[in-house]
């Protein structure tokens, strides 16, 4: 069950990112791209793990989740102005600190990503421990 939930969050995150980018036409900034790279494969890795009843998929997914979580956290710090953006020049895709990157007018996308990665991380760590105990 926790594995299923983690997979579903990854699926929704992927669909949401594609919707924002491809349908609504928001160009992803550099940091968004890195988070996408960490998020998209989770759908396949965790999905296959679910279908094959393969607990090792969690181990393969975790490095991606940690990477995505770290980048999302960093992105949030930039978004809230706690870290200056000076270190990562965001090119064509617009600034990573842009106030425009919000969903429904008030939830910033990097926060959404951070919440998703945190939830996936917690669920995966939880099911990993559960499997060890079994």
């Amino acid at each position: 069950m926790p594995l299923f939930l983690a997979w579903m969050i990854a699926l929704l995150g992927t669909a949401g990112a594609l919707f924002l980018g491809e349908v609504m036409g928001m160009t992803p900034c550099v940091l968004c791209w890195y988070q996408r790279i960490a998020m998209f494969p989770l759908v396949l890795i965790l999905g296959l793990g679910l279908l094959e009843h393969d607990g090792r998929s969690i181990r393969y997914a975790l490095p991606l989740v940690w990477a995505g979580w770290g980048i999302a956290l960093y992105h949030c710090l930039i978004f809230w102005g706690l870290v200056s953006e000076g270190m990562t020049p965001c090119g064509k895709g617009g600034s990573c600190a842009d106030a425009d990157v919000q969903v429904a007018g008030f939830v910033p996308i990097p926060l959404l990503a951070l919440v998703a990665f945190t939830a996936i991380l917690a669920l995966l760590l939880f099911s990993k421990r559960k499997m060890k105990n079994e």
Binding site: F4, W7, M8, L11, L12, A15, L18, F19, V23, M24, G25, G47, L50, L51, H53, K92
Partner: protein, 218 residues
């Protein structure tokens, strides 16, 4: 086995939601653009804009264009052919949407050529040499001066004109209209005030044909 179906149906549900969301969003943004065009009809065609084709044609294609945009370049012969083969029923009005770096300089050069009645020659040259001067990341619109050497402009006058406040005003007016009409991609087409909803050359031809049929009933 049960698990497999849960996974598959979850994927299916997300895909369906995605498609439904896409349709809702498209509808809503089309309505928004149409609304913007309807409430800003005066922003579509300005007296200062270049016109190609019969000035009295009843069907007007308004194209918001950017000399540095590759798709605008691809569309140029298509739109030109549409006007040329319309027996004077269709005209093109060019508006500027400088969305690339350096496009403003390019537009000023084209406008300077227009003052000497060499506008379309200059546009064609600028498009022909677009890969050279409009490289992304390193645009050098000044190279257009080189490209239009052969069209026999009074260069000294053209360079003075390109920096004139009059041309700057044309550019600023077009930028303001572009924003009012919510044009954020180039080329942005309107045919008799109707925005091109789904982008594509076939779609544009269809929209023009519809308007021709309406304006010139048999």
């Amino acid at each position: 086995m049960n698990k497999k179906w849960i996974v598959i149906s979850t994927v299916a549900a997300v895909v369906v939601a995605f498609i439904a969301g896409t349709m809702v969003f498209r509808d809503r943004s089309t309505a928004e653009v149409t609304q913007a065009a309807q409430s800003n009809t005066e922003a579509l065609v300005r007296a200062h804009s270049p016109v190609y084709g019969n000035v009295d044609a009843k069907v007007t294609i308004v194209e918001f264009f950017d000399p540095a945009c590759e798709t605008c370049r691809d569309f140029y012969p298509i739109v030109k052919r549409m006007v040329n083969s319309s027996f004077g029923q269709v005209r093109l009005v060019v508006r500027y949407a400088p969305l690339h770096k350096g496009s403003d300089t390019a537009i000023k050069i084209l406008e300077a050529a227009r003052k000497q009645d060499k506008y379309w020659e200059a546009v064609e040259k600028a498009f022909a040499y677009q890969p050279q001067w409009a490289a992304h990341g390193n645009p050098q619109p000044e190279l257009i001066w080189e490209a239009i050497k052969d069209i026999k402009l009074d260069m000294a006058k053209a360079k003075a004109d390109a920096g004139s406040p009059e041309i700057e005003q044309v550019l600023q007016r077009d930028i303001a209209d572009m924003m009012a009409l919510k044009v954020d991609k180039t080329p942005g087409f309107f045919v008799n005030g109707r925005p091109l909803e789904v982008f594509g050359d076939e779609e544009l031809k269809q929209l023009v044909q519809e308007e021709v049929r309406r304006a010139y009933p048999k």
